[in-house]
Chain length 382, copies 4
């Protein structure tokens, strides 16, 4: 395929750093594509950009160098030391493509101005590297819930409000989407933040004839749920309650222990379960900040279900993973599939990418098996 850009919002975060390090390692052939869905047999014939055809850049509001971030991830077990050492020199090349991100607290001008700068960064990146297209993916921290405003209803009213000095009509994630679409880029939302979920922005995507996908990468507890819930339903076993406790360290733990930030994440997790089970069940869900776990993420789920003659039984599982290790390869997969979709002229929400998301746009299918089957058959049409 033609040279393809991958522009990461939150380019210095754990997920982005792991994805970048991994891409460099895959490119140099020192690791196999474990965890990369798109590297599997089933997708051999799909016209996806190869690892060495993907160029990475991005925005971030912090300025810790990528190399430092990668080193910390090596210490916490996400990136093996030998891989870090091998790709360390190449990290600085990516570093050159990272630009300051937008945050209302530090930006003086209008949101229009802010968006224009972001758009220009992406356009310059594409031009500089001779890219056929750039896929923009949001992997930054989950935002607090942003209130719905009337101006979100149409592109005209939104743009008018963005031009008003001092107004913050959009959360940062949506400013990033606006900028990406204006730059003619497909957009993928790996977070539960507002992002493209506003009528005005979907209007812009339509006008620009761009595809988009999201939202909220499915990497642990919800992945398990989407694999297990169909077992209960197809066996006609009646789930009565499904409890979840998530222990997170690192920045994600800090962000999500804050009730306001967590609320979008919890909603995004909850929606899936009731769809999967076909009705509401008792489903308390917690996210705890446990700093000493570092990059690890531990989820305990307890499922109480009823079988033949009303007998009560239970299932419980503990999932122990590294969030960034689980998310990073999916980010690369999404870049590849979305680039191919754009090349093939797809526009609007890519429901066929539901396999990757907790809260898929463009479809109501949450069952993992069906999502994969859909992905495979859709990919064959590319």
């Amino acid at each position: 395929m033609a040279p393809t850009g991958l522009w990461l919002i939150g380019a210095r975060g754990s997920v982005a750093t792991t994805a970048i390090t991994g891409l460099l390692a895959l490119r140099s052939g020192i690791v196999p594509g474990v965890g990369c869905v798109s590297a599997q047999q089933q997708f051999r014939k799909v016209p996806l950009p190869e690892w060495d055809e993907i160029h990475v850049g991005g925005h971030d509001i912090v300025d810790t160098p990528l190399e430092k971030r990668a080193e910390l991830l090596a210490e916490s077990g996400v990136i093996p030391h030998r891989i870090f050492e091998a790709v360390r020199p190449s990290l600085s090349e990516v570093e050159d493509n990272i630009r300051p991100g937008y945050h209302p607290a530090t930006h003086a001008g209008t949101q229009s101005d802010a968006a224009r700068t972001l758009t220009d960064d992406i356009t310059a990146f594409a031009r500089r590297n001779g890219l056929a297209r750039v896929v923009v993916i949001n992997v930054s921290s989950t935002e607090p819930v942003f209130p719905a405003l009337p101006e979100h209803g149409s592109l005209d009213t939104l743009e008018a409000a963005m031009a008003v000095p001092g107004r913050t009509v959009l959360p940062p994630s949506s400013v990033a989407v606006y900028a990406a679409l204006r730059a003619g880029c497909p957009f993928v939302d790996f977070t539960p933040s507002t992002g493209i979920r506003l009528a005005a922005l979907q209007e812009l995507a339509k006008k620009q004839r761009l595809p988009y996908a999201g939202s909220d990468g499915k990497t642990g507890e919800t992945l398990m749920r989407s694999a297990l819930a169909p077992m209960f339903t197809t066996r006609a076993l009646a789930v009565r309650s499904w409890t979840g406790t998530n222990l997170l360290g690192g920045g994600d733990g800090r962000t999500l222990a804050d009730a306001e930030h967590a609320s979008s994440k919890l909603q995004s997790k909850g929606r899936g379960l009731s769809t999967l089970l076909g009705r509401e069940v008792t489903a308390p869900l917690h996210i705890d900040n446990v700093p000493d776990l570092g990059e690890q993420k531990i989820a305990w789920d307890h499922v109480s279900f009823e079988g033949f003659l009303g007998v009560r039984m239970s299932l419980q599982f503990t999932w122990t993973g590294y969030d960034s290790s689980l998310a990073a390869p999916l980010v690369l997969d999404l870049a590849r599939f979305t680039a191919a979709a754009h090349a093939a002229g797809h526009t609007g929400p890519l429901g066929s990418l539901a396999f990757f998301f907790k809260d898929p746009m463009g479809t109501d299918e949450h069952r993992l098996g069906e999502q994969f089957a859909n992905l495979v058959s859709w990919a064959e049409t590319l």
Copy 2:
């Protein structure tokens, strides 16, 4: 559908007693069809025998009355007291249809003679109740592995050997199959015993133009594995080891803790895992007899897997269920689907029933989601 027989080998065992009690309860409308796959929306239009069109009989080598067995299951939590009380009077009707089963240790004549008696029992049951067909299902205890013999190779040599006084050329499960096929009955193997897995018996099934299905009902740990393994493979996560420990009380625990009996069960479980994962992994598996658990069955599995950049992660689950509660509704489902398949003229192994089995015959598909999809589309053709 026409009146249909369900003939249970091991008719006084826990699974059979629960299935019989449940059928009586379903027939009188005092319980919903929780746990019954065939009672779901998707199969509404399939011509299956209704609950009140199914008549039950069977063979067993023990003679504890059904009512006594059901009472014990009520005490151990498998059958709610109120349901036991409600169906108690009807149990004696089924009781009248249970005949002494065959066991080499207690039978004096040839295996031909033994089979003939069994056949006659089934035929008389069908005639007495005016049944269009009888589905024979083996739900008796798992047998020790029976040695392969040259006589198993063809129907002629098998029948010659069965007629030799004093020869035990077949294990009881296969004598039961022979008798069922001779009676013109479709056969379902819910156990991992030898049963129909001999060339001579499959030749007989073919000659009689009968369908058959098996083997080894998938009710707990293996059910979980067939739901979870595809999650790992479709996500390109490399499973490195998958350990299992099963704690069983009751008769099943006693039987399977005996290494010889367990060996067929362990093989049947193991075959599935490597097929599901596409390669061999370290997979130690234990079955422990823990009498104080009664009818409960507890399985703990630990899965160690590798993700992006070789990082190690893990999943563990504990499944706590009542084996008979999980198995019984599937026995009813299998009776219904197999009867419909027979009515529709199907012959040979019913690979489309793989959804119900640990070690399916007639297909190599072990993935639960695909098995269900196959079942649904096959059922639509009936």
Copy 3:
């Protein structure tokens, strides 16, 4: 020992009903003393009231008959059917000793009046049954936290406030304590409610020369913690975080899922952990209401700890119990030990009973092993 009364606040609740049923069963010799600490070898020679020397009565604000409550507990697995049937006739005798409890919402007069009525109930019960003493134990639902008031500081100011019409200076648990002490009864708090933890009431206990004990029965997660935490500390393993999730059904689940009611319970659990570990650790703790669990209580704890050279390791456990089954025998134990302490002339907080409590009064010892050793040597002095 002399005839002894056990007066239960919340006498129709699950814990009380199970304790009463169990006492009747123990008295008639149809069950062994499993779960009864005081029935062990170590306490053979301690002068405790025998099962048939204990007479039960109590207060409750609901009026569901004990027999009905016991029947429900039989259905939910806490009381075996055969035991319920055996003691059913005797339940009505206890029924006659249950009087209406106090609740501000339904009581018109002053709190002084209310307390007087309660006192009279207890006194009449003692006289009617010729009891040497009555131990009053609070096993009612956990109250919302009650604000600290200046009137709680001394008996005089408290009694003055209690006499003011329309004033609610005490929560119901403390009114019950006041009444018990006025009736000359030792008091045990099996809940985390305010109860005797007010200076004014402890002053009254002192004046009346009565012993008291509490608080908050240690029956599950906290029991485990008090057994396990010393393992980490004596082995010099540094616990970094200890997370807990509690799933409760039944009335307890409903009460404690309400944040206000839960707060006293969570505080009571938290105090112990930091004392046990010798410092504060990250310790998020949740109580979820999961009605379908019925009387079951499931606790999942995850402990992350650091060993030699800073290596991180973990322990997780799942405790699945019936709260009332665990609590009820301890209520009987507390009645026996407290009666013996009263007979022996002990007054003030009985720190030696810490073994039974999450948040012991009269001592700071939370280690289970030490608590038991203390109990044994104290009992020898009785």
Copy 4:
């Protein structure tokens, strides 16, 4: 205290390498004494050798350099990279003190000759380093069970048999003990191998007036059991079954998956449980070799117990640790306490060190809390 030797049998194994690395790190002050029992407050005043007063040497039958072994342990997460780098230079000093161990397969002469060489190695080490005493600790791989022989009954018959060319009257662990005692050294058995558990060798220890301790370091599942079992017994809860599954990678996994080697380990674990619970319970126990776990060790235990009125409840736990990280500091503790005991003139089995062992010699106390209390009071007498 005076300069003290620590002589490790199996000096290049994972436990020894971690202990040596840790000792060097402690000596240089770059790590705190986490996991070191003897470094705690309670033992401040006990005359124990300081970290820089302990000199290490040992025997091993393999010759991989210590530095290489430490590097592998750093890669597998047992030794942090920064600590490995810091102590790397000092490892070679210890290296100089490691001599070839004894193994019958590679040794030509009599066992007397073999033992003499071993004794000489230890004596030379002590002389070379001016040591007041040398504590010999066996941390080598678990041996297969060695048959009991009549010659083990007395020192005379044993020594006669050892002098017979071609006879293997002792397993290597016992040859090592013989050599240590002949060198006048106290001996500690950290493994379940035969070691000092022969009458002839205990006779020699007595003759030499030496103390000894063992056996089989308590580091994971058994540690948990000795903390938890007293909870059940003191609460009068009746344990009905206690199942254990152990997953081990590394060399230990390989050795113990071999049924013959495992048998001594399984016996050693089993003895404790029935002593702790005061009677035999159903207690199936498995050790599985799961190579991909590397140095990790995972134990899952399921405890089924009965409470008040016969109600069944359960506890399950999963322990995830690094075996060498848990064992290594205990090896250092044992060196210190045993040296102090020797200095204080103690002889015979040191039952007060039971806290460290699965199968303690010199006492029948298996309860962790009591073992610690005994250790503390004994240490105060040193």
